[in-house]
Amino acid sequence: MSTSDTHLHIDNVSKTFGDVQALKGVDLEIKRGSFVCLLGPSGCGKTTLLRIIAGFENASSGHLMLDGIDISQMPPHKRGFGMVFQSLALFPHMSVAKNIAYGLKLRNISKAEQRNRVEELLNVIELPEIAERPVSALSGGQRQRVAIARALAIQPPLFLLDEPLSALDAKLRDNMQIELRQLQQKFGVTTILVTHDQHEAMMLADELVVLKDGEVYQSADPATVYQKPANSFVADFLGAANLVPAAVSKDGHVTVMGQEIACDTGQPVGTRLSAAMRAEHIGLVPVSMAKDHPVGAVKFLRDLGPATELVISVDGQDLRVRCDNATVPDLSIGAQVALSLDGSRLSVFRA
């Protein structure tokens, strides 16, 4: 991110399909050169939002401002945004080179220029030798890269991706995520990617936009979204969090599972809250060392190699805990253990 000016302003965009309201007044400012991930469960409106940006759907109300110019009514083929589709949508009747050159051909760019650009892009995606192959002869990862190259060939102001990695197997997906991120930085193109995979979103995004039921629940950098989720949905959606009831006990303190913890909520005393704790933010201490810490019984235990995953039942509520193997006390199923909670890593929301 060299500059931080707004590239695309999504201004109060709503969309209804019949009776269904797919988007409810979405307002986002997307910075030039940033990588934005639209994240949410299926049906949250993330794909609809991307399709409105691409121009395949009209917004029912609201505007899209690209560099201050309203493009809401511009047909998709005039927008010139590169897009990578879920199915990739490579043209099966064209070779790899023809696929990549198609957008250039439509722009009346000379044959020689087209050839140079295709060659350049094939080098960037590290597949210089496949130009004349038919699309059907490519592997999944190669198709992926060709689809990206085709979209980037037209030097788009915006680069849109609709769950492009969802069809790949896990290992290939991890590699492609890194490659995609590197490509995006190399081209410096403002990028919007739709995904339902929180891990993918965390890997790629400069800015994470969490959507649910057509509304933006939180929009911030990934670390903030993870550490300081704006509400219980975001906390839960990004890496299953433990949600427990809490209450403001005195100014600057909350009570969680009987323990009073320093945590500034800005809410009056007695307000009922819910607190979210990441599994890896809960510490384990021997019961003998526990003072007023909550105590529970180990219900499930599994050594995952670098860490140990536990389920601990406290007053009938199951909590997931993940500990480094170095710090986990010797435990077995049914053993009693005390939990240590860190107020600075606690996220609290109004219940």
Partner: protein
């Protein structure tokens, strides 16, 4: 949607052209039937347009034709209708019974054999009907076959096989081998598994094929035109002989009955195979 085969939003010459041509297509498809229907309600004795007055008189006349036997005509409308229906039902039964096992064998058998057989059973669809009519007539005449109603049934079966087979194969395609294997693993013999699992799952496709056979045979004109005799004749032939010189409104009323029956049957087929298979 702003992009698509038929974009739903936005104004463009593309969308206009597609809709305009589709409208012409719909008009060409439907106008003859619409006009026949309108004219059948005419009160006038001739078929001039527009009808001066509307009435049901021709419908009463058709009903009278069926209820009051007219001894003077050599081949009565009742006889031809009965023959038509009889032929259609026999054709329907035979074609379905032979196509179900074939569809199973093709779906589960060798891929190359399947392609060859599918081609063979598509032939009657593209084979000129006139030639077929003449050929069957030649065989029947030169072998001096006295086979009554079968001289129409046999060619009709050949004619409907492609349609029935397509529907049965379409129904088979949706049935995985695993469902059959599940039945076998539970103790059913392979034949029993077909009877208990495959046939019930094929039901919609089989029914669609049955109805297709029924309508095609009942409406067939060209082959029957060569094969009919004074004793064995169908409704379309009766209509032809009645209207060869001029068109009279009672035939139009009779046509409307046929149209209604066909529409009902096609809707049934469409419901049965709704979205799951192709009509052809």
């Amino acid at each position: 949607m702003r992009v698509g085969l038929l974009p739903t939003e936005g104004k463009s010459t593309y969308r206009f052209t597609v809709l305009f041509l589709a409208t012409i297509g719909i008009l060409i498809s439907s106008l003859p039937v619409v006009v026949v229907t309108i004219m059948s309600f005419s009160a006038s004795d001739n078929t001039g347009f527009p009808p001066p007055e509307l009435s049901l008189r021709w419908y009463w006349e058709v009903i009278a034709m069926f209820t009051q036997e007219d001894a003077s005509s050599a081949q009565s409308v009742v006889d031809s209708t009965v023959t038509s229906l009889l032929v259609a039902f026999i054709v329907m039964a035979i074609s379905t019974l032979v196509c179900i096992p074939l569809a199973y064998a093709l779906a589960r058998g060798d891929r190359r054999i399947r392609e060859g057989m599918e081609l063979l059973f598509t032939l009657p669809l593209v084979f000129p009907l006139v030639i077929l009519g003449i050929a069957f007539l030649l065989i029947a005449e030169s072998l001096r076959l006295e086979i009554g109603i079968w001289r129409i049934v046999i060619p009709h079966v050949a004619l409907v096989l492609p349609f029935v087979l397509r529907n049965c194969i379409g129904a088979m395609n949706g049935i995985s081998v695993e469902t059959e294997e599940a039945a076998v693993s539970l103790g059913a013999s392979p034949l029993r598994a077909i009877w208990d699992v495959v046939i019930p799952l094929m039901r919609a496709g089989i029914l669609a094929g049955l109805i297709f056979a029924l309508i095609i045979s009942f409406n067939e004109f060209t082959i029957t035109f060569f094969m009919y005799t004074i004793d064995v004749s169908t409704l379309p032939i009766w209509m032809y002989s009645r209207t060869v010189s001029s068109l009279d409104p009672s035939t139009l009323a009779l046509s409307v009955f046929i149209i209604v029956a066909d529409v009902v049957l096609i809707v049934l087929v469409d419901k049965l195979i709704a979205g799951r298979a192709n009509l052809f």
